[in-house]
Amino acid sequence: MIERLQALKIKKQYNSRFALSCSIDIKNGPLYTIVGPNGSGKSTLLRILSLIEPVDSGKVIYHHNGVSMSNPHDNTEIRRKVVLVPSRAALFNETVFNNAAYGLRLRGIGRDIYKDRVMEALNEVGLAEKENINTRELSSGEAQRLALARSLVIDPDILMLDEPTASLDPDNTAIIEKIIKDKKEVSQKIMIMVTHKLYQAKSLSDIIIFMYKGEIIEVTASGAFFEKPSTDLAKKFFNEQGEMHCSGSCRTSTRYW
């Protein structure tokens, strides 16, 4: 099992306006949540850590083993221990069951073995009764739950969630948050989440990674971070988020310090 994930001096230049440049050391157990304003590089960092995207320099180390970052797709063996749930559920034009079973099929697991696992995962997200319908008939909330089930069924060493409840209604958000919480409590796997919802970060996370303009500004215990962020950038971010939410649902209108 992978117990430690490190990114050492990774650099990724996109254009003259945005560059990612950071190092991070993540261990199994706590749930890490990456927060920061739009364009700060949160999702990019997840894609790099999950070996989907190459970097210009630096390296990613999985459990003391450095991996080639010039063509990260080639690290199939390690990539299959990592799963990233994208912010937008992209489902294949097939049945719910086939979507959920895809990752297990890729790993060469036979249908007689994966059938029960898939049904268990679908049951966990409340989609067991829809196993035979086409994914086009799912609502956006159901689609996102299926995307989560499709990843959980693999039982990866590292689970990454990129805004798992973005644009979902409160009911579906609550379902997904509960699944994440349960998963965190029962497994000792590495879990990293990106979210824009500060109340979610506060209620689910153990450690907060605050990013700004492609750099990691703070890595702090969740309690301490929400009690009093240590940098001016984080304070400014909190202020802006608080104002944004007040003009919206007002669910996180509270200032945290």
């Binding site: 999950s50 989907i52 797709h73 199939t76 990539r79 299959r80 799963v83 990233l84 749930v85 994208p86 937008r88 992209a90 489902l91 294949f92 034009n93 097939e94 049945t95 895809y102 990752g103 890729l106 790993r107 035979n132 319908i133 086409n134 086009r136 995307a147 499709r150 990843s151 693999i154």
Partner: protein, 232 residues
């Protein structure tokens, strides 16, 4: 008007009576075009996969070339294959000219650009987040491409049908390389052209009706398959 109605009635009688000549022509047409489309589909999908999977110098040029060849005039294709397979041509020693094999070859050449061009367009226009999702779940780039192709299966099937429609309706190329030899290389389209030229409209209309019926059946089957899958 009476002439047209009489021709259709006589043609229908010819079909109902299961005329051996009609059966022979239809069977050969289906064999030649069926084999050509199987080979063309295999080649077309392999090229689509390669184009999807690899970036290489000249890729845009290759795609443009394929799209250009989608409109390749059949007589030009027929002429080129004729020159290649003729006794003095580079493959003359194979003695394939005026055989069904030569007709299959020319039909493959006509169908491959259509199947490749339309399939690649379907794959390229697929939602990029699907490929991303496949990769995040542990797919290799090859497996992700295959997943996208599977996800675009109806557009690809439609491209195969377009290719089949092209080769089954084609006259010039098969006439040049096949020679329209009765009982050997005479297919529906060349027979229709010949019979119409002779003024024998019964057989021409009968074959025309069968050609349309085959096209309708294939398109109906695709539509049925699509609807059946949508319900899953």
């Amino acid at each position: 008007m009476d002439f047209l109605i009489n021709s259709i009635i006589k043609a229908l009688k010819l079909i109902i009576s299961i005329d051996p000549e009609v059966i022979g022509i239809v069977t050969l047409s289906l064999k030649v075009s069926g084999l050509a489309i199987i080979v063309a589909t295999a080649i077309g999908l392999a090229i689509t996969l390669l184009l999807d999977l690899r970036d290489f110098i000249g890729k845009s040029f290759t795609v443009t070339l394929i799209n250009t060849f989608m409109g390749l005039p059949p007589v030009v294709a027929g002429l080129v294959i004729y020159l290649i397979l003729s006794r003095s041509g580079p493959f003359g020693f194979l003695h394939l000219l005026y055989t069904p094999a030569a007709m299959v070859i020319v039909q493959v050449i006509l169908a491959v650009p259509i199947i490749t061009g339309l399939s690649y367009a379907a794959v390229v226009s697929a939602d990029p987040s699907l490929r991303f999702a496949a990769l995040t779940l542990g797919a290799t780039p090859l497996q992700a491409s295959l997943k996208i192709i599977r996800n675009s299966r109806y557009a690809i099937l439609a491209s195969v049908l377009a290719g089949l429609g092209r080769v089954m309706a084609e006259v010039g190329a098969v006439l040049i390389v096949g020679g329209n030899i009765a009982g050997y290389t005479r297919v529906m389209t060349t027979a229709i052209a010949l019979e119409a030229d002779k003024g024998d409209f019964e057989l021409a209309v009968a074959l025309g009706i069968i050609l349309l019926a085959i096209s309708f059946t294939l398109n109906g089957a695709l539509f049925w398959l699509q609807k059946k899958d949508e319900k899953k």
